[in-house]
């Protein structure tokens, strides 16, 4: 799994390759060691949309937190473009604006307007003038169809719109990687489909590597170049499914025969893992 895959959609992107190498994460609450991630290796080429699929509580988020730098790892290493994020001598990565998380329940600051939220990253970095930052923020909002909501607070707009603002807030920092932690989990399926197309549209304009956690197979196949189906706790890649449906995609691919074939191929594996997780009585996590 070390070969970097060539893909039309990714060949113009040169930054953002993630290499997860033999990562182990053991939680040690009250001395009872729990293995959350078990010798996990995933290679994600720059610009790929990599979907991490697995049942709830399988430890996917642990992996994401390790890349983002919210948690340390027990052993193994994670590299971004050949540079060590965490590994021997550096148990926990330093969070940074090259890898930005889009959170499960959304983390727009409710006390800042949409525009101020989007300007937040560059304002903290302080490299550009306020004028330049806000001009860029307005332009990016216009590109994402968010004009007119600049001075609204996140609590005043729909949840679908909030997710888009959050993605734009991340993209303002020119990240190499976007880490999605089941961001559309709470949305209804109609809103979800709109959000998927909006996300792809944003992706086609700003190619970044996307590490996307989900348990929704349809979402995974529609968005991803590749599915990494994880086994239930401890978390470990069980099967890789290539999605050879060409990008750009729209919702018509959902009814295509190839989509169905891939769905059938993946479904069996996912179901088996979900059953295992259910039998083990795993809780959400």
């Amino acid at each position: 799994m070390s070969a970097v895959l060539d893909r039309p959609a990714t060949d113009i992107v040169t930054e953002g390759a993630i290499r997860i190498d033999d990562v182990v994460k053991i939680y040690d609450p009250d001395g009872a060691a729990v293995m959350a991630v078990d010798h996990c290796s995933i290679d994600i080429p720059a610009g790929e949309i990599c979907m991490i699929v697995g049942p709830s509580g399988c430890g996917k988020t642990t992996l994401l937190n390790a890349i983002a730098g919210f948690h340390g790892i027990t052993s193994g290493s994670i590299h971004l473009d050949g540079e060590l994020l965490c590994g021997p001598g550096q148990p926990q990565a330093e969070p940074g604006s090259d890898r930005i998380v889009v959170f499960q329940n959304g983390a727009l600051f409710p006390w800042k307007t949409n525009l101020d939220n989007i300007a937040f990253g560059p304002m903290m970095a302080g490299k550009l003038s306020k004028q330049e930052i806000y001009d860029k923020a307005r332009a990016m909002m216009a590109d994402a169809g968010l004009s007119g909501t600049e001075n609204n607070f996140p609590g005043e707009v729909s949840s679908g719109l909030r997710r888009r603002v959050e993605i734009v807030r991340a993209l303002m920092n020119d990240p190499k990687v976007l880490l999605f932690d089941e961001p559309y989990r709470a949305l209804d399926s109609l809103t979800k489909s709109v959000m998927h197309e909006a996300l792809l549209e944003i992706y086609y304009r700003n190619k970044v590597t996307i590490f996307f956690i989900t348990h929704d197979l349809e979402e995974a196949i529609f968005l991803g170049h590749r599915l990494v189906i994880m086994s239930s706790r401890p978390c470990k890649p069980k099967k890789i499914v290539e999605v050879d449906i060409p990008h750009p995609r729209d919702y018509s691919v959902l009814t295509s025969p190839r989509f169905r074939e891939i769905m059938n191929e993946a479904k069996g594996v996912v179901h088996e893992e979900a059953q295992k997780a259910f039998d083990a009585g795993e809780k959400e996590g």
């Binding site: 499960q104 600051f109 609590g155 707009v157 729909s158």
Partner: protein
Amino acid sequence: MSNTLDSTAGPQGAEVTTMTLTMHRVSSWLKSPRPYLMLIGFAAVLGFWFLSVEIWKLPRFVDMPGPTEVFSEWFSKDPYYGLSIYTPEYYKHIGISLRRIGFAFLLATGLGVPLGLFLGWSKSFREYIFPLFEVLRPIPVLAWVPLAIIMFAGSETPVIFLTFLASFFATTLNTMLGVESIDESYSRAARCLGANRWQTFRHVVVPGAMPYIFTGLQISIGVAWFSLVAGEMVSGQYGLGYLINTAYMMIEYPKIIIGMITLGIVGYSTSALVRLLGDYLMQWRVRELALGDN
């Protein structure tokens, strides 16, 4: 709570200003049955007071001043007991109580909010301070009275100290809880977006704790009045608590009731002021709630 932009009943998100929002609130309040129910509530209490004292003359109410006596005294240009809205002395009592409240409240806020923020933010700081805090907090203000008089010179400082004390505990505790209530995703998001520790404190911890801080300040201003009156009854030269206590000693009963009603009105006004300040500082919350209410 509805979060959609097209909620037709509420004010439209983009054009909402503080003024239109206030107008909207006032007009919908007047259209609701609430103001009329409120008037009925007041009328019922005043009516019972009037009937029990002046008409039925119930046995335990013999020494009670009736509403006629109280209100004619309160609004008299030549008050029998020397206290009405036309006497400067009345305003001196209010003014001095307000000055003490203001002083104690500002002191409690100025010390309590930063202390609460640091208690919530730094785990090791909390280990030092919080247990001590939790032992001191349940001691009732009245138990502090003798010590306050021994510790502080004059009649003014002990009263301010007592007023400050309960306010300070309420503010600190709520601020600390406010910091703890902040969803971890916000600090994580800030770190992701490149904020350092200080920037995270300034842009996430302080505004995130704000709703709890203002809940604390609401409680704080309430307990400040409570402790102020307790303090003024034992020490002090002027003030509404002093007024009530001396009126009792001098058997000037209508003055007691005037003092009490005045306390109610002034106390309510100060807590309304705190609420307005909170609304002003937390526009995001006001707007969310305005959309949710309709």
